[in-house]
């Protein structure tokens, strides 16, 4: 199902890129998207339930952008501070994952990386823990809660 | 005529096959060719005797005025007859002398080619054709001298002969071209018809020197005489041929031939007699100094060549007559004597005269004809050599200012030559029979025929002197002197100074011969001079050449890439910079409008380039090169080239990836160079950078014409149906460029793949072998 969704997405991307919204061009985009995917098909075993997720995706988008700007401002503040080194308290934490599939983990890890203050370093070999570098470890519990929150949102749109 | 000249080459090609089927009899068959040629050339006698010159013309490379035109007059006919006549006997002689030699077929090829080349040389009317044959004789004689090529000495001697004669030949070529340029023709008879043009030309001196350089080397004149005796490394038939009638006489032939054009000037009449006389004496002296029978003969040839040169130089009527007679006489007796010497060597197993004696009992025929030929050499009446010698004395006596000098040398040489004649014809054959390495007996018929006929002719022409006179001497003199001369040859001229000189030389020569061993010992005391002579000079030159070559190569091709790069860069800066400042008024230009961010991008470019240079971190340099690339991409974008920007970014990214993949196994940056070297390199680099900056600054000032691309822009949509003009150029207007470009990429891929995989395969192979 995700495959189909991705195919549609690719088709739309094609239409957008070409800037030609005609039917034949959409068909062309779908066809090319299909061909590209056919190539990689064997590597993608993805779930279904695409339709319900659209609103959640949009919600996530807003949440995400909000987080992005909010946290960036904080970093800005700290970086510009003369005694910056007192303001930050970095560290690496292990975040136990609820996400299981490749796509879930990756999506989450990238979302974490894009939000300021956290950076995904790696997933343990057994995929149960995500190691994250965090900028502000002063309140570790709150940090973990934030990440958990993010994971929930991610899983909601992916599952 | 053409066929006659070239027949030697044609038959030569067939010779190996002939030999295969005929074996030992091949010599007889092959000798038919020169014999037939002798007859053929003899048919020209009536015309030539009548004072005519026969001209035969074939086109060769008419565009370059190089033609196969042949001139048959007295001089060339005399030579042609001698060449083919003696050639006949040489071929026969060789068939006996080299019997069983594995190289005999190749020898036939060479000797016949040589004969053809000689014929071509003497018969050519075209200067360049003459030169072609001239060089052919050099190279073929090289092959002949090196007959025993597995012997290092033989190779060395062959090279010496070749190097000296070809070196002179090149000078000759220059001289001939200049001569033709002055005269406006490459045709000998045209040039010689009006010799004053040459003599009055401002190029006369260079022409003369160049031509003489060619002739003197070829004819072994002092100081180039050393190569000739060394050429004795050749088998005797070769020596006999080369040193009697042919190659060495080519120089003399040319001098005589050019006499009407170049001769008659003071310079000519000074240089030639002096060098000729010195050569004459040196040859005679060294002949007496030697013990090897072939060596003695070889030096006596040097003496003869000197004599001939001297005679041409003297240039009087008598001298010309003497020249013609001496030429003919020498060819006959020298041919005979060499063949005799070879026979002795062949049968007795040694060439050393001091180890020979009494052979007349074992080889009576040889001894007889050796004696006849030697008498002619010594200039004893009634042999033809006597006629020549008388005329020689007469010539030197009337040689004007040089008369005394020449006479003394001629007299001294005559004395020495008489001893020489005795050494080669009496010493080995008379007296006690000495033990020799081989058991001597009479030579086989093919080897005897030559000496018999040639020696007999020496006698015959001497007794019946009007025959050669009428047949050839008159005509030859006509050709050499340039105008008819009225004279008759005779044995008896009455009691006069030349006769006295002859007698005196005979007495003194006999005395010399009797005391030969003692005299030789005394001569040995002068050997130190010999060690510093021209031959030593030749070896010095060769060593110097090799040393210079080594030195130059070490300095230039030194193996250091940076030196190569630096040389190229400095050459560029030097030449282009020189052109820029000497050909153009450089003035600085205004900077125009520049925006702030453009400064930043420019600064980033420079900074990243510099950082890549100075960093100690190679991956840092790679990253910096990445920034450099991005900055260039920005320049492209800022100045309206989106396609270029995209390409640059993609290429830069891939370049970084490539570098990373490759650098993995390479070591880190190491500083090998000293600070001084770095400073120097920085200076060189800045010179180039400065030049490029200047070049842009000067050229952006000018735009001579509107660019052709406006036309392309106008047609891009209507005719090429594309709105991205850059792409339209790439796939349509200039698709061929793009085709080449993708082939470059494909080729790079093949190269990379081969470099990496071929190695891998080798490793697998190696492992299997282990």
């Amino acid at each position: 199902m995700i495959g189909f969704a991705w195919n549609i997405l690719l088709g739309l991307a094609w239409v957008a890129l070409t800037g030609n919204f005609s039917g034949p061009n959409l068909f062309m985009g779908l066809l090319l998207g299909y061909l590209s995917l056919a190539m990689i098909q064997s590597q993608l075993s993805i779930l279904d339930g695409y339709a319900q997720r659209v609103p959640r995706v949009i919600g996530f988008g807003f949440f995400f952008i909000g987080e992005l700007i909010k946290a960036n401002l904080r970093v800005a503040q700290d970086i510009m501070r003369p005694e910056m080194e007192k303001a930050i308290s970095p560290g690496v934490i292990a975040f136990p994952l609820e996400a299981r599939s490749d796509v879930e983990i990756t999506f989450l890890a990238n979302a974490i990386s894009l939000t300021p203050g956290t950076l995904s370093l790696d997933v343990s070999d057994d995929r149960r823990v995500l190691y994250i570098h965090a900028m502000y470890m002063a309140d570790e519990a709150a940090l973990l809660e934030d990440i958990k929150n993010m994971e929930r949102r991610v899983l909601r749109i992916l599952r | 005529m053409l066929l006659a000249v070239l027949s030697g080459f044609l038959v030569a090609i067939a010779a190996p096959w002939l030999y295969q089927s005929l074996q030992d009899r091949a010599g007889w068959v092959l000798a038919l060719l020169p014999a037939a040629l002798t007859v053929y050339f003899a048919t020209f006698l009536p015309q030539v005797m009548a004072g005519e010159a026969v001209l035969i013309h074939y086109d060769w490379v008419p565009g370059l005025e190089i033609n196969l035109s042949f001139l048959v007059d007295g001089l060339s006919l005399m030579f042609a007859l001698l060449i083919s006549l003696i050639g006949t006997f040489i071929v026969l002689y060789a068939s006996g002398y080299l019997k069983g030699d594995e190289y005999l077929p190749r020898f036939y090829v060479l000797i016949l080619s040589f004969m053809a080349a000689m014929l071509g040389l003497v018969l050519s009317d075209n200067l360049i054709t003459l030169f072609v044959f001239w060089e052919l004789t050099s190279i073929i004689s090289y092959m002949l001298i090196g007959h025993n090529h597995e012997d290092k000495e033989a190779r060395k001697c062959a090279l010496q002969g070749l190097f000296v004669t070809v070196g002179g030949g090149l000078a000759l070529l220059a001289g001939l071209i200049l001569m033709a340029g002055v005269a406006g023709s490459f045709s000998l008879h045209e040039i010689l018809n009006d010799g004053d043009v040459l003599r009055d030309s401002h190029l006369y001196v260079p022409i003369l020197i160049l031509v003489l350089a060619g002739c003197f080397t070829k004819s072994a004149q002092v100081p180039f005489h050393f190569w000739l005796p060394n050429a004795m490394a050749a088998p005797t038939p070769v020596s006999a041929y080369l040193h009697s009638a042919t190659m060495v006489k080519a120089g003399v032939y040319l001098l005589a031939r050019l006499n009407p054009g170049l001769g008659g000037t003071e310079l000519w009449m000074t240089i030639l007699p002096i060098f000729g006389a010195l050569t004459m004496f040196t040859g005679a002296y060294l002949a007496v100094r030697s013990t090897g029978i072939k060596r003695v003969l070889a030096y006596s040839t040097v003496m003869a060549l000197g004599t001939l040169t001297m005679l041409v130089g003297i240039g009087t009527e008598t001298a010309m007559i003497a020249f013609a007679c001496f030429l003919m006489a020498h060819s006959l007796y020298k041919g005979a004597l060499f063949m005799v010497a070879g026979a002795v060597d062949h049968e007795a197993g040694t060439k050393d005269v001091t180890k020979l004696g009494g052979l007349r009992r074992k080889m009576p025929i040889t001894a007889t004809f050796a004696a006849i030929a030697a008498l002619s050499l010594a200039g004893i009446p009634p042999l033809f050599g006597f006629v020549a010698k008388e005329l020689l004395f007469e010539s030197v006596l009337e040689a004007g200012g040089l008369a005394f000098f020449l006479s003394v040398l001629a007299m001294a040489s005559a004395v020495l030559v008489i001893a020489v004649a005795a050494i080669v014809a009496i010493r080995p054959f008379w007296g006690q029979l000495k033990e020799t390495p081989k058991k001597p007996h009479e030579a086989p018929l093919p080897m005897l025929l030559g000496p018999i006929v040639l020696a007999s002719l020496s006698l015959f022409f001497g007794v019946l002197v009007f025959i050669p006179d009428a047949l050839l001497v008159q005509a030859t003199v006509l050709a050499v002197y340039g105008e008819p001369v009225d004279f008759y040859l005779s044995l008896w001229h009455g009691i006069n100074a030349p006769l006295m000189m002859s007698l005196a030389s005979l007495v003194l020569g006999t005395l010399l011969f009797l005391n030969w061993d003692r005299v030789r010992g005394a001569m040995g005391k002068l050997d130190w001079l010999y060690d510093r002579g021209p031959e030593a000079g030749y070896f010095k030159v060769m060593e110097g050449l090799v040393w210079t070559a080594d030195w130059q190569t070490r300095v230039l091709q030194n193996g250091y890439l940076r030196n190569y790069i630096m040389t190229i860069v400095l050459t560029t800066v030097g030449l282009v910079g020189y052109a820029l400042f000497s050909r153009y008024d450089v003035s600085l230009v205004a900077f125009g409008e520049i925006r702030l961010h453009e400064y930043a991008v420019a600064g980033l470019l420079v900074a990243s380039a510099l950082f890549a240079c100075i960093t100690q971190s190679r991956l840092g340099a790679v990253a910096s090169a990445g920034v450099f690339g991005f900055a260039i991409a920005l320049i492209f974008i800022l100045f309206s080239a989106p396609d270029l920007g995209i390409t640059q970014i993609l290429v830069e990214t891939l370049t970084v990836i490539l570098l990373i993949l490759v650098l993995f196994r390479l070591p880190g940056f190491i500083n090998f160079s000293s600070p001084g070297a770095r400073l120097r390199d920085a200076g060189v680099a800045l010179l180039l950078g400065g030049l490029m900056t200047l070049l842009i600054l000067t050229t952006v000032e000018h735009q001579f014409h509107a660019p052709i691309s406006e036309w392309m822009i106008d047609r891009s949509v209507p005719e090429a149906y594309g709105r991205n003009i850059v792409n339209v150029i790439l796939v349509d207007y200039r698709a061929l460029d793009t085709l080449g470009e993708i082939f470059v990429l494909g080729l790079a891929a093949i190269g990379v793949y081969a470099m990496i995989k071929l190695k891998a395969e080798n490793r697998v192979k190696d492992e299997k072998e282990c």
């Binding site: - | 390409t647 190491i670 842009i696």
Partner: protein
């Protein structure tokens, strides 16, 4: 702008040649990159620079609106970039292999074929 770029290009040439004059083969590679980029940039510059007018024709038109940058040098430089990339790829691997074979980074140890 051209004069400024002229200086930049000159500096790039200088940097490229300087690196090519080093003994280390790794530096040679960097030198080659700088040098070929410098040449491309020179080509681009010497044809004259235009700001903000790429040689593209809007849809439905027969020619560009107003003057555009000269497309020809752009196409040529594009070709030159690609060629330089191909040559560079080859050179890089060559140096890699030379290092493996000679087992030294020092160009001074690669002079056997000359003398």
């Amino acid at each position: 702008m051209e004069p400024l770029l002229a200086i930049v290009v000159g500096a790039s040439y200088a940097a490229g040649i300087y690196m090519m004059l080093r003994r280390s083969i790794v530096k040679l590679v960097i030198g080659i990159i700088l040098f070929s980029n410098a040449a491309n940039l020179l080509f681009f510059t010497s044809a004259g620079l235009t700001r903000g007018a790429p040689p593209l024709i809007p849809e439905g038109m027969l020619g560009p609106e107003g003057a555009v940058a000269d497309p020809l040098p752009q196409a040529l430089v594009l070709t030159a970039i690609v060629i330089a990339f191909g040559v560079l790829a080859f050179a890089v691997v060559l140096i890699h292999r030379a290092y493996e074979v000679v087992k030294a980074d020092d160009l001074d140890q690669m002079k056997d074929t000359d003398t």
